[in-house]
Symmetry: C2
Subunit: 336 residues, 2 copies
DNA sequence: TTGAAAGCGCTAACAA
DNA sequence: TTGTTAGCGCTTTCAA
């Protein structure tokens, strides 16, 4: 950018008005007489004027930027929910006049990135996504009265008063399990995460609920492991031997892919011999043969609700809504 | 943020120095006497001071923000290169003192997002990634003398003078083909993109080169289709019938997954009966049974080179380097 | 309905 | 080595 862009003053001079009138033309067009407005707008157009962000931000004490932290890319798993969410968030934010600023985590000091952006007033608000870690960020931000919306409910901190948006995981696995039950399966196994994962236990509860509803036992049909391919593979191999299930419901697509590994090892075919359902409707679920049935989180809708909450938070006076819970759907494919 | 963060003046008062001295303590600490510096730093620490970005941006005419456009999430494919790249870019930018600002494309006016951010001096530079579209953005930005680095070489515009970073696709497919040749395969088929894709033709050339090098024919062994699962599926079915290949090299993991679909349809097993190699080392390649061998772009390294070029571009005086070509590697898995 | 003055918080240039 | 002055481009009073 060798030559600096036009300023308010340039537009004002060309249109033969004062700078404030140009500012009004941009921010409060109703205040101008129609002919003045037209003249100013013509000049804005001709000069290709756009208000300088830094100056505007300084004056209005707002950046129209939403900060979101992203961790390193997850390789060797099927997990890409946050990547998909980022796309939706960027899209939705644009419609609300916001851009998304991405920042990296600092391994041993999770709050560092937040603190700096907050104190330097670089962003207006945050979207916090990693609530499953016990969410130290949320309470930290709350203490500092920083505006933020969480994607994920406040599992333990019931007294927290920040807005959040989440997807009902139990409803998703219940949907999945019912789908299998309706297909005639009775021995449906669960492969989920370790007990200290609130999200994992929530998703598991949907499976038990659907099973018990039909009077079916769940004992011996469940496994709790790490969220990796190999764990899913081992757990499914073990369950097949010990409990002879005809179907698997998994807490993640990653675990479900582990099951597909086991099926291949044993020359079984997902969808023909054994049904498998994953969670997240990742690209992996969409393209793996014969297609992995999976619970799909409505991320576009999550983004819409997050931005809505953000707008409330940043309004004058702030309008703090409560939590929003969304319901997932089931993407049915060949594996069931 | 109910109470506004401390300013330079607050720190100055507490430390008993002028505002300028505080500014120097932050930006040119060498200029201060050690004891003054220590006193100022103590105050900065105590007050939790961080320079206001808007004010600094206004004054220095820089935002320390890098703009990157992302399109909607690609579903139904294995393609997620850009998502992975974003992670690396965010990480690398941080080390260089930059944040990444994401913006959405505006369907029918691809330049709109760029123009606005440029004129409002919201970002210091862009990273342009969608060079495969014939890259109207690149020449558009070049005309406006906007600083940007492209991830992707300037295929047609040979006179373009902007820095770029790219990965040698032909070298990747050559690596893949040689790997198969070394395993004893002789009838190796190619499934790639339509002829108008420069990237597709480049990747194809690596396959032909490796084949011809060993004196093997390629006639009848190639197919050019859309980048979708179903195209890959149909193309591979057709090739299996017409040319009886023992291996497939594909221009993308998406196409390779199409091949896996065909193999499943025919009760063949990738890796046992037929070898398959994809391109991009997506999550899909990493988790699908029995593992999809795939060409891996060194995206972390791409990010490093992109940021390096960006720093040159934004230096005073600007230091415009030439293009940088990186070499991919082959992630070998069960499918070969 | 339009214009003048002030100042957001910072840093570059210069003076002491 | 430190302090003073000015001004980046904008919007918010307030006056005309």
């Amino acid at each position: 950018m060798s030559v600096s862009p036009p300023t308010l003053a340039d537009v004002a001079e060309r249109a033969g008005v004062s700078r404030q009138t140009v500012s009004n033309a941009v921010n409060n067009p109703d205040l101008l007489r129609p002919d003045t407005l037209a003249r100013v707008q013509e000049s804005i157009e001709a000069l290709g004027y756009s208000p300088n962000r830094a100056a505007r931000n300084l004056r209005t004490r707002a950046s129209h930027l939403i900060g979101m932290r992203i961790g390193p890319a997850q390789e060797g798993t099927a997990n890409a929910t946050m990547d998909r969410f980022v796309h939706s968030l960027v899209e939705t934010s644009r419609e609300a006049g916001y851009h998304v600023l991405l920042f990296a985590g600092d391994g041993h000091d999770p709050e560092a990135g937040y603190a700096d952006l907050l104190r330097s007033t670089a962003v207006d608000a945050f979207v916090v996504t990693d609530t499953y870690l016990g969410n130290p960020q949320a309470s930290w931000l709350e203490e500092r009265r920083a505006p933020f919306v969480a994607f994920g409910r406040p599992w333990e901190a019931l007294n927290s008063r920040h807005p959040w948006v989440d997807v009902d995981g139990a409803a998703g696995t219940e949907l999945a399990t019912r789908h299998l039950l309706d297909k005639g399966h009775e021995r449906i196994a669960w492969i989920g995460w370790r007990k200290d994962s609130r999200i994992g236990e929530d998703r598991r509860s949907g499976w038990t609920r659907a099973m018990h509803e039909r009077g079916l036992p769940t004992t011996g049909l469940a496994s709790r492991v790490e969220d990796t391919i190999s764990s899913g593979r081992e757990a499914s191999a073990h369950l097949l031997d010990s409990a002879r299930p005809s179907a698997f419901v998994c807490a993640s697509d990653t675990l479900a892919m582990g099951v597909l590994h086991t099926l291949r090892d044993r020359h079984l075919r997902a969808g023909d011999n054994i049904a498998v359902i994953g969670f997240d409707d990742s690209q992996v679920a969409q393209v793996v043969p014969p297609g992995l049935t999976s619970v799909r989180q409505p991320l576009e809708q999550v983004a819409v609700e997050v931005v809505k909450a953000l707008e409330g938070l940043l309004a004058h006076p702030p309008l703090v809504g409560t939590g929003v819970m969304l319901t997932p759907t089931l993407a049915v494919r060949g594996s069931s």
